[in-house]
Symmetry: C2
Subunit: 677 residues, 2 copies
């Protein structure tokens, strides 16, 4: 820190408006008192004249660390979670047991608010900060019960380009390092479960290739002290095969063969391994090259862990039993005779449920202003559905009660995260949202209005720093208008939240709010939560409260019984603005196969770039006149959706030349972390 | 369960000796009262006449579940851990902060007991149950403070062949499912850290191959608002390179090139990826086959996560700072000019320390009789050092105080686990053990005495069920004698603990105890902890207490300054009984290289089969007249040891045709787990 002058403004306990706490001031200690609703800080403010006002700022982790979170059991008591329903993980995070849903089942649900966004720049436009600012405003300032439901960040981006996902500035989940690192281990549990399935697949193919039917049967149904018995998971498989026998000795040789041989076609394994690291060299690999694997090499790959079907199941399951059944139904590949092979066929589904038994409980944390947050399920709405969990939302809706608010977040632009929230998550949960908050920034609007390229790591062009009303207007009339229209397709009112940056001018802010309303938003307001915390989002909280009093006429975009191709076409045309879709021969063949297997009535989870409404990342605004290419189609039968791949989407990110990890460090004496943001 | 008759013996609260609770009795509810030291059960015993007395037994998980663990904060209070030193993870496990070591630094250490074993059968001979039975006897029955220090099991064996590692019968850590599944996430943290290094290696090679020096420098040291700065981790690298400059602009073009290019030789990358799953198809793989990786394919592989160097560092570090420094020193490969490249060169060492900041704190749990246990670091003494952590032992030694006992466990036979405990772990910790408990079973002794092959999954041959004194004597006079001699090489007295099975006859038990003493053991006693809990290990506890009053003259097996080859030869000859060693040309070249790099003064961590004193798994007893083949040599510079591979050791286990997971299931209503053992 290079300072020309230090001026001590005050010391001891003084009232400091949060807006004082801005770039250029170093806050030594902040201690908001949250119970009173009045934010009082114990603070020393040092004003610094800097060589460059951009070269020193208060980092997110410094703000996070400056606030001591209240003990998680105290938070639980405040919001009506009983001690026996809470499983603490350290002092500031806890899992909440699902039995809470039974206890509160007569309690009416609160209001349900979805935060979505316009198509973002690669830098992100602050949906998480808006979500946190909004609940801080609702709870700590308007005195309305509220809960934020967020997704657990992937360690890939945390150590890659993006950094953490705990919000930022004065709208954060704290402690942000707990949020951004292992949390309570859910993603690790998913990784372990996913990779146990993968190991089971390859080992099973090897054992089938090297053993007779009889040898396989003797090992799969071993004689223990002279008695052979099928395990329950084997009885399930026999039933699916139409062999209604329970005595192993009664199987005919043909039935033994049918039972012991999954006969997986190595070229039709759809199950990939996963890792929660941006490891691009694992995108396409060859496995089985050690001599012990007897030449059974095959090509496969790793996805980022949050793209695992098991993550989607965690988000969509509405009970432990539902999760277990979904895990059992997961299809991992196809037999040589064209039959789908499931996790239950591999005998692994019980073990998967055991590995996931704690992950299904949402993790409770708190915002910087002490309001409750659930963190559950994962991000990546481009290559997954990218929504937080049904169970977290349901628990939160009961906890806030009739007049309370649950604010949940859908990843990336409304065209992907929100579309999947409505068509997949709301279908699974039966919940209906009251209002959509659509997050926009002047920066992203200028990009959509024709501004130059924005990329991570490069300095922002002048257009994004200086006032430019024409670019702003262009963005409002293209991408913002389209995203509002998409929300209206579902019959839900929209409040536009303009996440204000310090370079935005008043004229730009006013223009966005005016045009957003002209484009159909119920309301449009500027938000200053990053600099001011909940107080900076009061206007948004009032607008949201107002909007939820209006009727919402929720409807799905498509009927689930429509043919798969028609469902894909509907999303492409109505949501993305495409003229039509174009299926690769591979995609067509897969769709035929899924129809034939009876998977035709599942909703669609598109894997599409988040950087454009179209499949072309560089087409900003609201592109038209394009045909959407469907390169391949996969099926996540356990999660319950068909998964078309649009264009060249990768399911494994990479590391840049200088990843975030270069700046991340730990002081071994104070145990303080630096460089996480 | 097929019963011919049910006889209700009692209901309500009655006194039942634990020995009643045996195969043939179904216990509905067991509630030992531990505070009094008298085991009282609230129990209903139903005696069942069975078709086969072997086909129904009380499983470990049923015993574990029948006992409600005391709250972990109560356990902590009982043993003197302050509330602020405890981080609960749910109700029955907690991490203990390292600051406790500072608070108790003036407290004298307790006595230090190592549990090792004779060469086991593939079924394992019960070192963990002996460890737990011993602390139960010391604490709950002899009223001596005691602590067990165990290793966290790998999920590979838990879902593969072996099952869990929480002990068994009435000598278990509870809840055993918490112990055997994710615990507090340490192995997941190791996996994440290990694989972040791997991703950093391949991504860096790609970026260096596709960018000029200038482009790399511009990205690695970016201009932020016109100012370039080195990060602390980059300054470290510059210092190692002998470039004592801090202003990026002052580097010469040659210095820029030296700084930005790690110039890793793809054929000399020693860092492998890891997964905590038995995934044999990952033993040898080719990565980088997607077109985005531009043809930079290379062969590599995955190890089981517990074999990661980071696991070894977790076990050997004695502070957060020591761990951080060791992580930075890890060598991942060699540059084309022959220089070792470290994790710090990759810029990733700070992030590794951050990922491992919670894993370094040992996890506290309890035995079935409510005595404290630390679980920390990992198993696999064949392909790793396989010992629990230095920090757990140090914390426990302070907590039990001068007259207390810390019982720690070394993996597999004394020839590998104990040898590494002494030569590697004791060297790192400075701690000196008072006594070695050497675990033997009649089963393993018969095998070493010439009995037929024992293999997992196959029925035990009659020799192992019927009395056979000559096989027992043969095993005592070969393997048991040799393992006792190995402990005496280090100057530590040995108590032999015979883990009694129900098929052992009194004559067999007496013979083992008699011959063990003839072979040099200070004492030899039978143990009945599996059936009786701590009460069944009272004799062992008394023998151990007695043995610790004798002087121990601890000495290392080799001087650390001996040449690498001599250290390997010393272990091979004195410990394994080999005539000599034979180095492959590759091993010789590696040793030359390590000497040249200044790594010659590190201790040796042999990767050798655990199924024989030799490198040949089928050579039982105490083989002689063999030459030990050293196929390859690796170096774990961060962990601090040289790692010779003996024969064809695999660092990744496989799954059998019918893995354990077939029987593992979760009841979604009661949330009870079945099939874990």
């Amino acid at each position: 820190m290079q300072a020309d002058a230090l001026v001590l403004l005050g010391a001891g306990t003084i009232d400091v408006p949060p807006s004082w706490v801005r770039p250029g001031a170093a806050v030594i200690r902040c201690q908001p008192s949250l119970e009173t609703g009045i934010v009082t800080y114990t603070v020393i403010v040092i004003t610094i004249t800097l060589h460059s006002c951009f070269s020193v700022f208060i980092s997110d982790i410094e703000i996070s660390r400056a606030q001591t979170p209240k003990p998680v059991d105290q938070l639980a008591a405040e919001i009506g979670v009983l001690p026996e329903e809470l499983e603490a993980y350290g002092r500031s995070k806890a899992k909440v047991q699902l039995s809470l849903l039974d206890r509160l089942h007569t309690q009416p649900d609160g209001k349900y608010v979805l935060v979505a966004g316009i198509t973002p720049t690669p830098l992100g436009e602050g949906k998480s900060t808006v979500t946190i600012g909004l609940v801080q405003a609702l709870s700590a300032h308007l005195k309305l019960n509220s809960f934020a439901c967020l997704r657990q960040p992937s360690q890939g981006p945390t150590f890659g380009v993006k950094g953490g996902a705990a919000g930022g500035g004065y709208a954060q989940v704290i402690p942000m390092e707990e949020f951004n690192l292992h949390l309570t281990g859910d993603i690790h549990a998913i990784t372990a479960a996913n990779n146990l399935v993968a190991a089971a697949i390859d080992a099973r193919m090897l054992h089938e290739a090297t053993q007779s039917d009889k040898a396989l049967f003797n090992r799969l149904v071993p004689s223990v002290n002279g008695v052979r018995r099928f395990s329950p998971i084997q009885i399930s498989r026999l039933n699916r095969l139409g062999i209604n026998k329970t005595d192993p000795a009664s199987l005919t040789p043909q039935e033994v063969s049918t039972f012991v041989r999954l006969d997986l076609d190595p070229s039709k394994i759809t199950w990939q391994r996963v890792v929660d690291t941006n490891d691009r060299f694992l995108r396409k690999i060859t496995v089985g090259q050690a001599s012990t694997e007897k030449g059974m090499i095959r090509e496969t790959g790793f996805d980022i862990a949050v793209a695992s079907e098991i993550m989607a199941i965690l988000a969509l399951a509405d009970s432990l039993e539902d999760m277990k059944n979904r895990l059992a139904r997961m299809v991992v590949g196809t037999s040589r005779s064209g039959q789908p092979i499931t996790a239950e066929d591999l005998g692994v589904s019980g073990a998967l449920a055991v590995l996931m038994k704690d992950a299904i409980k949402p993790t409770m944390m708190q915002t910087l202003e002490g309001t409750p947050v659930f963190v559950h399920a994962g991000p990546f709405a481009n290559i997954a559905h990218g929504n937080s969990s049904v169970l977290a939302d349901k628990l939160a809706l009961k906890l806030v009660g009739r007049n309370g608010f649950v604010v949940t977040e859908a990843g990336f632009g409304a065209d992907i995260g929100m579309e999947k929230f409505f068509n997949i998550k709301c279908r699974a949960s039966g919940l209906r949202p009251n209002v959509v908050v659509l997050v926009a920034t002047v920066r992203a609007l200028k990009m959509h209005g024709g501004g130059p390229n924005v990329s991570a790591g490069a300095p922002l062009p002048r257009e994004y720093i200086d006032e430019n009303l024409s670019l702003v207007a262009g963005g409002c009339r293209s991408n913002l208008r389209k995203q509002i229209q998409i929300a209206h397709l579902f019959g839900v009112p929209v409040v536009v939240a303009l996440n204000v940056f310090k370079t935005d001018t008043q004229a730009e802010i006013d223009l966005v709010c005016q045009l957003a309303k002209e484009c159909g938003a119920s309301d449009a307001v500027p938000c200053h939560h990053w600099a001011q915390g909940g107080r900076g989002s009061l206007e948004l909280a009032q607008a949201v409260n107002e909007a939820t009093s209006r009727p919402s006429n929720f409807q799905f975009l498509y009927n689930i019984e429509m043919p798969i191709v028609e469902k894909i076409r509907t999303i492409a045309q109505k949501v993305y603005g495409a003229d039509d879709i174009e299926l690769s021969p591979e995609a067509e063949a897969k769709i035929d196969y899924y129809n034939q297997q009876g998977y035709g009535s599942l909703p669609i989870c598109m894997a599409k770039t988040h950087l454009s409404l179209s499949h072309m990342p560089d087409k900003k605004g609201a592109p038209t006149g394009f045909t959407l290419p469907i390169r391949d189609v996969r099926a996540s039968i356990g999660a319950g959706f068909i998964f078309p791949l649009v264009g060249t989407m990768s399911t494994m990110p990479g590391l840049p030349t200088r990843p975030c990890f270069y700046d991340i460090d730990l002081d071994p004496v104070t145990e303080e972390i630096t460089g996480l943001f």
